[in-house]
Amino acid sequence: MTHQKILVVDDDPSQRLLLKMCLQKDNYSVTEAAHGAEAYTLLEKDPDIRLVVTDLDMPVMNGFDLIAKVRDSDLRYRYIIVLTSAEDKGSLLRALSSGADDYISKPVQPDEIRLRVEGGIRLLRLEIQEELIMSMAKLAEYRSDETGYHLERVQYYTRTLGRDLCEKHPELKITQQLAEEFSRVSPLHDIGKVAIPDSILHKPGKLSGEEFNIMKNHATIGGQLLKDIFTKTGSLYLKIAYQAAMYHHEKYNGKGYPTGLKGENIPVVARVVALADMYDAMTSERCYKKAFSHKAAKKIIVEERGEHLDPKMVDSFLAREKEWLSIRERFKDR
């Protein structure tokens, strides 16, 4: 059986020893580092160390710099608990703003450290679930025709749109954080395509009426799948993902599918993803069509203002047109 690895970072050997003894009692595997630089090297070498308990005041590299370096890097997410004196609120705030997840006040109490570590492990498990779900989205993408950078582009278009709406339309209640969440879940919008037969998914021509009806099922299949996981886990981002998958083919005029929702009744994330997905579909080459130019795609988007698309989304697209173009350029398919 493998045990969760924890890295204890403190310049004082007796402090490390005490923490180590406490954690080993609960069957954790403890690795030690005497300062931030040593800790960072260990984290680079061993991706299985997911939890760090660190002091702040240390030589060579202090705890603040270690946290910032870990957060700035491409390393896997590490749950970081800071050891601090209760009276030192300034340092605590600084550590939390640098990216620390939690803190333990000195002196260390065994029950407290056990509970804090368990909290961290719960969060890491949720993160692993999220990674699994995102991998499912990638799998769905491999199966479909939309190879290359489709998911990445849709993700960036969604973020650009979300941020702009956050500034200009407070009534939509999109915060910067929610805009990030929209972008994060957007790769899941077409996950239901895994259930569509190859003969339809990869057909190099126009779909027949019956085939199109089958294709339309991908929204309900993906939406229902994500809704089920949301019901089981209660993770809010899965609710947003479900709304994006289920309703991204709804039209503002009520003529879309699967439910024919109209206007503001369509969840806002679905209205955002609808435009991002539509623009990318038009400007990319597919097995059944050539890529449209930006100008041609823009013309159609403007024509669909208030019809297929929410006018607010179209206006935001026009306001940030240059950003959309640079995203398209940055994630160009070969």
């Binding site: 050997p13 007796s14 009692k25 004196s85 000195k106 002196p107 065994p110």
Partner: protein, 138 residues
């Protein structure tokens, strides 16, 4: 042994403001000397360590205390910046808290706080006081 050192430079106002009880009326209050038995009891009761672990822990704490006290003496000998004294005071406070010596830790906290605020206390007297208090276990 003189465990009551005069701290004439400590203002009455700062004494009154202090949360601690170990610096009172410009004097360091007499604190009980630290014994091995007391440390054994602390590590057993608080951390539920077994006898072997307790021995290792006490030896390690003693080494850390020696190193921390030596660093403080050296910093004072070399007239280092008060921020350095505060940092070392902070370290020794953490050690004392781990050892369950809350009153001694409070004294270290006073040292850290005064140094951080740039007050000219008789830091050497405080360090010597802590040193004497721990002589039996170092």
């Amino acid at each position: 042994m003189n465990t009551s050192t005069n701290l004439s430079s400590l203002s009455r106002r700062s004494v009154l403001k202090s949360r601690g009880k170990v610096l009172k009326n410009n004097e360091i209050q007499k604190l009980p000397r630290v014994s091995r038995e007391r440390l054994v009891h602390h590590f057993k009761a608080t951390y539920r360590l077994d006898d072997d672990q307790i021995k290792v822990m006490i030896d390690s704490s003693a080494r850390s205390m020696n190193a921390a006290l030596a660093a403080l003496y050296q910093a004072l000998d070399e007239n280092r910046d008060l921020s350095e004294i505060a940092r070392l005071g902070h370290s020794i406070k953490g050690l004392l808290l781990n050892m369950g010596e809350t009153q001694w830790a409070e004294l270290a906290r006073e040292l850290e706080k005064a140094a951080a605020q740039g007050k000219q206390l008789d830091f050497r007297a405080i360090v010597a006081n802590i040193h004497q208090g721990f002589e039996d276990v170092l």
